[in-house]
Subunit: 344 residues, 2 copies
C-alpha cells in the first residue's frame, strides 16, 4: 500500500509500505476513507532528526473495517468507523474512568503501530477503540465526523477539564483547529464570554462562528493586558491553552482569574514552567489537561454532528489526495491552510 | 506592648512596640490569648536578610476584641474570636466564592499589619475576618480552635482542592502540622487509603492517630517506589503536598496516579518546576492549591472541634510564654518541637 513517512524535518514522503495485517487477535485492519494532517504533526516537521526517521505519520482517520482478529466482537467487515488517535481496550479502570489515554493496553497511532495517512492501518484493541458510524451517512458529514478522532475531542477535553459551565468566562489561547473547537466546546458547555487569542483573521472569523465573543490578536504582555481590559482587570475563570509553546503557557498564566483553571491540550514543547507563588500558587490557579481521551467523548459528541447542530468539520479548509500529503504539510506549515483533509 | 520581630535569619526578638490602634473604621484591635509559630515562619528564619528586617511575626491567633472601628458590626468588646491568617472583607466576589485570599481588600497578617506573636494585633476588615467563639469555651479547646486560624484550614484546603471523596486514595507529603492535618481532613472527607510520607516517628504516629493507614519514611525515588508498591504500581489519586520544597513537588509527581491531582499547600520555595509531557501532561495530572482561604472553612470545621469529635490541637507539642518565643523558633527549627503554642 501507499503510506506517509517523515524522513526528517521538512521531508515528508508517500511511499510503498507493507499492507497492514492482523498481528494480535484483538486487532482490526481498516481501509482509510478520510485522514488528515494534525497541528501536532508540525512539531516533528520542524524538529525530526534523520536518525529518528523515517516515521509513519497520521493518527486521525475514518475508515471501513476490512479484517478482524478472532477476539474482536461487535464489529463487522464493511463497518464504517471512526477511531480515536489513541487506542485502548475501553474496559480497564482507566478507560472506565474516561482516561483511555492511560490504558495499560493502549497507545498512540503512528509510533509503533503504523500511521493513518495511508491506504490502510492496523488498529490494536479494535473492539475498545473503534466507534461505528451509520453506514448510510452523508459523505458531506465525513469531515465533521473525522474531527471526533482528535481535534474536536481534544478541544472538548480542554473545556471539560476546566469544568466550563453555563455563564462562564473563558479565554482560548490559539486559533488552530484545536483552539477553534475548544471555542465550540466551551460554547456547548454554556460559556457566556469566550475570548479567542489568535491573529489569523480567517481563523478567528471561524472562531466567532463557533461562539467566540471577543478576539484578541495581540500576544505576550499586550495580549494579557487586552484580556484583562475585557474582564474588568480580573482575567477569565478558565483558560484553554491549545498551542503547547511556553509563551502560550505564560499568556494563560497572565489571562486567568484568581481561583481559575488553565487547561492545556497543546502538547507542551517545554519541560519546566513557572508554577510558584507569583504564577499559579498565590492566586490558587489550577493547572490541568493532557492528551485527550477522545474515546470518552465520541458517544456524547456524535449526535449533534450527525444531525448537523454543530459543524466542526469547518476547520478543514483544504483537501488533498493521499499522494499529495506532503503538500498538505507544507500548506499547514506556511499557514496557508488551517487543517488539511486527505482522501484516498 | 511586647511583640515578636525577626531581625534576620535566626535572630528572633521579643521587644517593645507601639500598641496597635484603630487606623480604619473597619479595623478591630484584639488582645491575643493564644498564638503560635508556623512552619512557614521557618522560611524567613532560614533566609531573611538584615536589610529586610526587622519583620513583625505571627499570623495565627485567638484573642479578645478590645476595640472596634465605627464601621464594624456583629462584634463586641470582650468577644472571643479566632482569625484566619489572611484578612478579607468576606463580601466581595472572591470571598463569596470562598477565595478570601484573593479579596482585593484583603492581605496577610504580619507583613504591613503587625504580627500576632504579640500582646495585641490590629485586624483590618474585622467584620469579615474575625469569627466569634463561644465565650464559655473550655480553655483546653483553645489549641484546637487555634488550628482553625491556619494549619487545620490549610490541611483541609489541600484535601478540598484535590476533591477528596469517600473511598479515595491519598498520599500526604510532609509530616509537619499542615501535613498531619491534611491527613485528618482527607479522613474526614472519606479517604480510605492515606499514605503519609514523613520520617519523624512521633509525628507519623500522630498522623496514624489522625487517620493515616500507611507511613512511608523513604524520600525521593525510594519514597516514590514505596508509594507505588503500596498502590499496585499506580500511585494515589490525590497527593497533598505540605512542604513547599522542590523535592516534595517531585515526590508528588512520582506518587500521583494518572488522572489524579497534586494539591499544594506548602508555600513553594521555587518558581519553576516540571510540568511537561513526562510529568503532569502525559498522565493528565492536575496541579492545584495555594494559600488556603481558611475563612471559608471555619464555620464548617468549628462544630467538630467544639464537640471534641476531632482534636487538631494535638499538633502543639510545646508551649512557651510570649517572651520565650525565640526558643519556640529554635525548637521547631531543630525539629525538637512539631508546633509551638504561645501564651501571653
Amino acid at each position: 500500500m501507499r503510506a506517509t513517512f517523515m524522513h526528517q524535518a521538512g521531508d515528508v514522503r508517500v511511499q510503498d509500505a507493507p499492507d497492514p495485517v492482523i498481528e494480535q487477535p484483538t486487532d482490526a485492519v481498516v481501509r482509510v476513507v478520510r485522514s488528515c494532517v494534525c497541528g501536532s504533526d508540525l512539531h516533528p516537521y520542524h524538529s525530526l532528526s534523520a536518525a529518528d526517521g523515517p516515521a509513519p505519520m497520521g493518527h486521525e482517520f475514518i475508515g471501513v473495517v476490512e479484517e478482524l482478529g478472532s477476539e474482536v466482537s461487535g464489529l463487522h467487515r464493511g463497518d464504517l468507523v471512526v477511531s480515536p488517535f489513541a487506542f485502548a481496550d475501553n474496559t480497564c479502570d482507566y478507560c472506565r474512568e474516561g482516561l483511555q489515554t492511560s490504558c495499560p493496553k493502549g497507545g498512540f497511532f503512528a509510533a509503533g503501530v503504523g500511521g493513518a495517512q495511508a491506504e490502510a492501518v492496523r488498529v490494536p484493541q479494535a473492539q475498545g477503540t473503534l466507534v461505528k458510524l451509520p453506514k448510510d451517512v452523508d459523505s458531506a458529514l465525513l469531515p465533521s465526523l473525522l474531527t471526533l478522532a482528535d481535534v474536536y475531542g481534544t478541544g472538548y477535553h480542554a473545556a471539560h477539564q476546566a469544568r466550563v459551565r453555563p455563564g462562564d468566562s473563558v479565554t482560548v489561547v490559539g486559533d488552530g483547529a484545536v483552539g477553534l473547537l475548544a471555542v465550540l466546546s466551551a460554547r456547548q458547555l454554556g460559556a457566556e464570554r469566550i475570548i479567542l487569542m489568535g491573529r489569523h483573521k480567517s481563523r478567528t472569523d471561524l472562531g466567532r462562528f463557533f461562539g467566540a465573543t471577543d478576539v484578541v490578536a495581540e500576544r505576550g504582555e499586550e495580549g494579557i493586558a487586552k484580556v484583562r481590559d475585557l474582564t474588568g482587570g480580573q482575567g477569565t475563570r478558565a483558560v484553554l491553552e491549545a498551542v503547547g509553546h511556553l509563551p502560550a503557557y505564560e499568556m494563560a498564566v497572565g489571562a486567568v482569574r484568581p481561583g481559575g483553571v488553565i487547561s492545556r491540550v497543546g502538547v507542551p514543547q517545554y519541560d519546566e514552567a513557572p508554577v510558584g507563588f507569583g504564577s499559579l500558587f498565590g492566586p490558587n490557579v489550577t493547572l490541568t489537561g493532557g492528551p485527550a481521551p477522545v474515546r470518552a467523548y465520541i458517544d456524547q459528541l456524535l449526535p449533534a454532528v450527525l444531525d448537523g447542530t454543530v459543524d466542526p468539520g469547518r476547520v478543514f479548509d483544504r483537501t488533498v489526495s493521499l499522494d499529495r500529503t506532503p503538500e498538505g504539510y507544507r500548506a499547514m506549515d506556511q499557514r496557508e491552510a488551517l487543517k488539511v483533509l486527505i482522501t484516498p
